[in-house]
Structure formats: structure tokens, C-alpha cells
Amino acid sequence: MNLERRDFLKVLSAGALTAGNVTSVFAGIRKTLSADAVGILYDGTICIGCKACEAACKQYNGMPPESANLEKATGVDGIWDESYDLSEKTLNKIKLYEHGDASTHNSVENGFAFVKKACMHCVDPDCVSACPVTALVKDDATGIVEYDKDACIGCRYCMVACPYNVPKFEYAEAIPEIVKCELCNHRQAEGDIPACCEFCPTGASLFGKVTDLLEEAHKRIKLVAGSTYEYPMRSLDEGDVSPKTVAPYINYIYGEKEGGGTQYLLLSAIPFTKLGLPELSATSSASKSEGIQHGIYKGMIAPIALLGGLLYGAYQTTKNSEG
């Protein structure tokens, strides 16, 4: 009952087929922005760090303040919020850049500046690709990355996948959930805009269609530093503006290309790497991992061929024995 040479080759070729497909990889940019995609343009140069966006976010998303250290110092609980970063109780976060004597706004040397962290609502989100049970879904029209707790198994692969470490997990709960910004979709359903934009007093957080926001951002990075520009407030569609002096913009829109693009865009006068934003390639990691996986499992041809060879081999070797 020796296996014939060609049977060996059958098994081997199925294996080689599996391995060979590994090389047919690296899809390029494969997903594009939907025409109705909405997002936020955060302009760090006009942010004053008041954190009204954080307070509004907490209020309209039912998030409690985080105050462990202040609590200890003052004995008062639930008054101040001092979250350090995004967390399972904090969906957006203003962070401070500081250098030297921190005397000049929007200056790298001896300056200070702000940056807002939140879900980037990627055009080709790694978290959505990673989720085994479709608990994270990108809305076809708005492009908002939404979470469904009834599907989620809590495996936390989305957290491994997200290049910005945005999805957070309730480690302190017996019945935990993944928590992330959903662009106030509950408010948008009632015709409102995300709370962080609604309550921003300077227009630093600006809501709108992503295509319009990109146009606005391109316009701003071409402005002459020191000139005056009428910055739109809250939402691009609203028409309310506030005149401000233009800061020396970095000639780059963070989020235009990162990982295939994002619907949350950032402008700054400080290099983005100094603000803690990662340097990413122009294609998503999901396009690479799916490219390899779908290459190997294309039409299930390789696994089925391999199974055929294995069945034949196993049958030949066991037909005369009792296992």
C-alpha cells in the first residue's frame, strides 16, 4: 500500500499552491471615501485647549469623569475630569505639546500647541477587517465606524489592529464592552452634529462632509502666516465664521493619506510626529493581511485541493489497518 510517487506530488503541489499564493500580496488602496462620508477637521492651530469638547462628549455620550488622583488629593468625587488619554470613559482627548518655556502658541521651540485624539474613522479601517464577528461596521453612507455589543465576543483583536490604539476595553467590568467614538451618530440621527464640534468655541473641531473638509484643509495650509482668515464655526454647512490670525501651518493634512485615509483630519503648526501621531504607510494594514489571506484561500481552491490529497493519502494508509 505504498503511495505512488505522483500521489505524493499531488499532496505536495497542493501544499506548494498554498505557500505560493503568499507572494501574490499587497493590494494597494482598495477602498475609497463614500460621497456622503462625514467627519471632523481638527485644526490644532486655533484650538485653545479649553476642553469644552471633552466635557460635551462626556455629557452627550453618558461618560463619567475620571478623577482618581484629584479625588485622592481633594476627597471630592465626580467634579473634575482628569483623564490622561483616551480610555473606556473618554472618547476624545485634548493633549498638550510643550517645549522649553512654552511661551509661544504654535511654535516648536519654546512653544505649546494642542492636539485632539479620537477615533479616526478610517476609510479602510483595520479594526473592521480584524473583527471576527462583524461587531465593528463601517456605515456605507456616512463612513462612521460603529460598534455592536451584541455581536462582540471581546477578543480585543480590534485593539491590536488599530494603529491609533482607539478601541478601548472595559477591563474593570464583569460584563465589558469595547468603547470608541461613533461620531455622535445618536445626535446625527436627530439632525444634530457631534457634540465636540457643536460646543467648540473656536471652530477647531469642525464637522462636515469629508470631501468639503479636505477642500477646506487644503485651502488653510496654503494661507499666508500672519494673515487673517475667517474660520468656519461648528459645521461647514452652518455658515457662521470667526476671523483669526493664521498660524504657520505644516504643509500636510494628517489623515488624508494615512493607512488609506481617514475621515478625521488634522492640521497643525507642529510636526505631527511630535504630537504622538504615528507615521503610517498610504495603504491600510488590513489591505495587506486580507491580500495574503484571500490569496491563500482564493475560492477555497488550495484548501480543497489539499484536503483532496490528504483524504486520498489517509485513505490509502488506513484502509487495511484499524487505526
Binding site: D126, P132, V160, E170, Y171, A172, A174, P176, P278, T317
Partner: protein, 379 residues
């Protein structure tokens, strides 16, 4: 058909009580985990959402459970009947390893009561590597116990059922080779989506093939290691040394190919220099590859392969190499950004230790009560 027999002997020995104690400590800690959440017993964070429960219990645990896969591949697919005496104990260890990996996943995931969503067609995401891994591991646990069931049937003298099963067993043997091929490679693919968070020394499109090759090699190493270790620990003769020596040869070409692919890929991507520039990570990389190299060198000569000590240490080195490769890829070389650190908490470690204890206890019960190990030839 090779003769197998139950070892017999007393079950409640002193080591057994120690193992039982460790398992009970883990049990108490698990009550805490289910009442107060994962954060109550682990050092996991938003930056490091996976710790040793995933990396040791699942990744290393299932790779150590590849003995059944690697031996089945030889015996049933490549028709190397001479390794048949190793099949049964290898399958048993695999069944334990994979079952407990499944248990660990259940402990680790936050919304465990919805775990079955992975098998519901309207929930599954075919783009997700995690889906492939979860579905394949789930199916393989089932297949492993079917593959191992002739041992139970023999024990219960259900020979009629055993005969019927043996007619269709080839189906499960084929699946038992296909499924690990799929999920052991996909376990590597899991980290591709981590992109820039994984050091370029480990981040590559070849992760699935590199993981598959090391899983098969670890499978052979585990069979050798376990066979020699249990022979000494259970005071059995070292009868199996010649066949283990022959088996050890299998590791060499796989390891050589692994190292060629790994270094070739690093060179191709221009990352070779990082080994010496990257401080700590570079050191981990070097240790890892030295551990891969040791079995190649130690097992190169046929004379060495007949020595139980050499076999034991080279298999041990291979197991460490594969384990470290997995730890590095998922934890050491994984850097989510400034401010995040991970080292397992005492409770986390104790729970893993408890799971390993249960595995060893189950091994002892099985070899003493069921016909798993080859019968000792009395002269």
C-alpha cells in the same frame, strides 16, 4: 497494530497533589476574574490587549499541541508506518493542548457568553484572520478527540464501535492535517494587521509560512521531548530512542528552510542591520535564532541522534525557540506606542500555571488508566 497498555499504578502521588493545589489556586483566581472583570487579575491594558493567556496558552500551547499533526502527517500522509507507535500519545497531548487553549480563550475574551457568534453565518467576517483561527481551532478540538477516541473504545472494550469508526477515521485524519495547516499559519497572519506596531524584524508577509514551519517542527520536538521526559519520570525504559532519533531528522530541513526564508526576507527588506542597532530587540532576535540553530547543529550527525541526552536538549532548544519566536512576535517586538508596558501579573501567571497543571494531571490520569503508551517488552 502496535501493542499499547495502561501504565497502572497509584494516581494520587505527591506531585499530583501539588498539581491539584496549583489548579485550585487558579480556580479561585478565575472566580475573581469572572466576578470583577479581566482587569482584576491581569496587567492587560489598552496598548497591550493580549498577554500570556493568548501568547502562552493559545499560541505556544497549540504549537506544543502540534505533535499529533506532525506525526499524522508522517504516518498517514507520507505513509511512514514506522512512526505509528508515536501516534497515540502525540494525539493525546495535542487533544489536551488544544482543548486547554480553547478554555484559555474562553477565559480571556471579554464577552465569552457570545463566543458562539464566531460560528453564526450572519455574524462571521470572512476578512478576519481571527475568524479563520477561531473556527479552525474550534473544529480541530473536535477532530482531535475523534482521532483519539479509539483509545477510549479499546479501554471500554467497545471493539465493534471501534471497527466502525476505523472505516471513516481517514476523514478525520485528513481534516486533522488540513485544519492545523490552516490555523497554525493563520496564527502568524494575525499580526500582519498590527502593521507598524510590530517591529519590522518580525513584521513580514511571510508570517503565515514562518509560523507553520515552526509549528510543525515544534510538533516533532514535543514528541521527542515528551517521550524521553516521561520515560525518565515514569521510570520506563528508553526503548523509543532509535525511532525518536530518526524522527529528529525531520526538524533539520524545516529549520534550515525557516532560517533561509527568515534571513532572506530580512535582507530583501533591508532590515538585517537592525539586528545590531535595535538594542534589546536585537538581542531577543539573536537568542531566538541561536535556539533555532542549536538543534540543526546538535542533530547533524547520525551518531548524536542516537543519544537520548542530545535528543532531549535539542528538542528542548527547538521548543524554546518556537515559544520565544511567538512571544517576540506578539509581545516583545509589539510596541503600541509611548506609555504602554506589559508584564504579566502574579494572578495572570498563576492562572496559566494552573492550566498547565491541569494538563499534566490529565496526562498522568490518561497514561495510567488508558492504553496510550507502547507496552513494555518483558524479556
Amino acid at each position: 497494530m502496535h501493542e499499547k497498555q495502561a501504565l497502572g499504578g497509584r494516581l494520587l502521588t505527591k506531585p499530583f497533589w501539588v498539581l491539584l493545589g496549583l489548579a485550585m489556586i487558579a480556580g479561585l483566581l478565575l472566580i475573581k476574574r469572572f466576578l470583577f472583570g479581566i482587569g482584576a487579575v491581569t496587567n492587560l491594558s489598552d496598548g497591550y490587549p493580549w498577554g500570556i493567556w493568548i501568547v502562552y496558552d493559545v499560541l505556544v500551547g497549540t504549537a506544543l499541541g502540534c505533535g499529533g499533526y506532525s506525526i499524522a502527517l508522517l504516518v498517514y500522509i507520507f505513509n511512514k508506518g514506522e512512526y505509528h507507535p508515536l501516534v497515540r500519545s502525540a494525539l493525546m497531548t495535542s487533544a489536551f493542548g488544544y482543548t486547554l487553549a480553547g478554555v484559555s480563550i474562553f477565559i480571556d475574551i471579554g464577552r465569552y457568553w457570545q463566543m458562539y457568534n464566531v460560528f453564526l453565518p450572519w455574524h462571521i467576517n470572512l476578512n478576519s484572520i481571527m475568524f479563520e483561527v477561531a473556527a479552525c481551532i474550534g473544529a480541530y478540538v473536535f477532530v482531535l478527540w475523534i482521532e483519539f477516541s479509539p483509545t477510549f473504545l479499546e479501554h471500554r472494550k467497545s471493539l465493534e464501535t471501534k471497527k466502525k469508526l476505523s472505516k471513516v477515521l481517514f476523514l478525520f485524519i485528513a481534516l486533522g492535517v488540513l485544519l492545523p495547516t490552516m490555523h497554525q499559519s493563520s496564527l502568524g497572519s494575525l499580526m500582519i494587521i498590527a502593521g507598524e506596531k510590530l517591529s519590522p524584524m518580525w513584521q513580514t508577509g511571510w508570517l503565515p509560512l514562518l509560523f507553520l514551519m515552526t509549528a510543525i517542527t515544534m510538533g516533532y520536538a514535543v514528541v521527542i521531548f515528551e517521550s524521553l521526559f516521561s520515560a525518565v519520570a515514569l521510570k520506563r525504559p528508553l526503548d523509543e530512542t532509535p525511532i525518536l532519533g530518526k524522527l529528529s531528522v525531520m526538524m533539520i530541513p524545516l529549520l534550515v528552510l525557516f532560517l533561509l526564508l527568515r534571513f532572506g526576507d530580512l535582507m530583501w527588506r533591508g532590515q538585517l542591520g537592525n539586528i545590531f542597532n535595535d538594542g534589546m530587540l536585537g538581542a531577543f532576535f539573536i537568542v531566538e535564532n541561536v535556539l533555532f540553530l542549536i538543534p540543526i547543529i546538535m542533530l547533524a550527525s547520525a551518531k548524536n541522534r542516537m543519544k537520548p541526552t542530545i535528543l532531549f536538549w535539542s528538542a528542548g532548544s527547538m521548543i524554546l525557540a518556537g515559544a520565544l519566536y511567538r512571544f517576540d512576535t506578539f509581545l516583545v517586538a509589539f510596541n503600541p506606542g509611548v506609555g504602554y508596558h506589559y508584564f504579566p501579573s502574579a494572578s495572570e501567571i498563576l492562572i496559566t500555571v494552573g492550566i498547565i497543571s491541569i494538563e499534566i494531571m490529565a496526562y498522568l490520569i490518561f497514561v495510567k488508566k488508558l492504553p496510550v503508551l507502547p507496552a513494555i517488552k518483558h524479556s
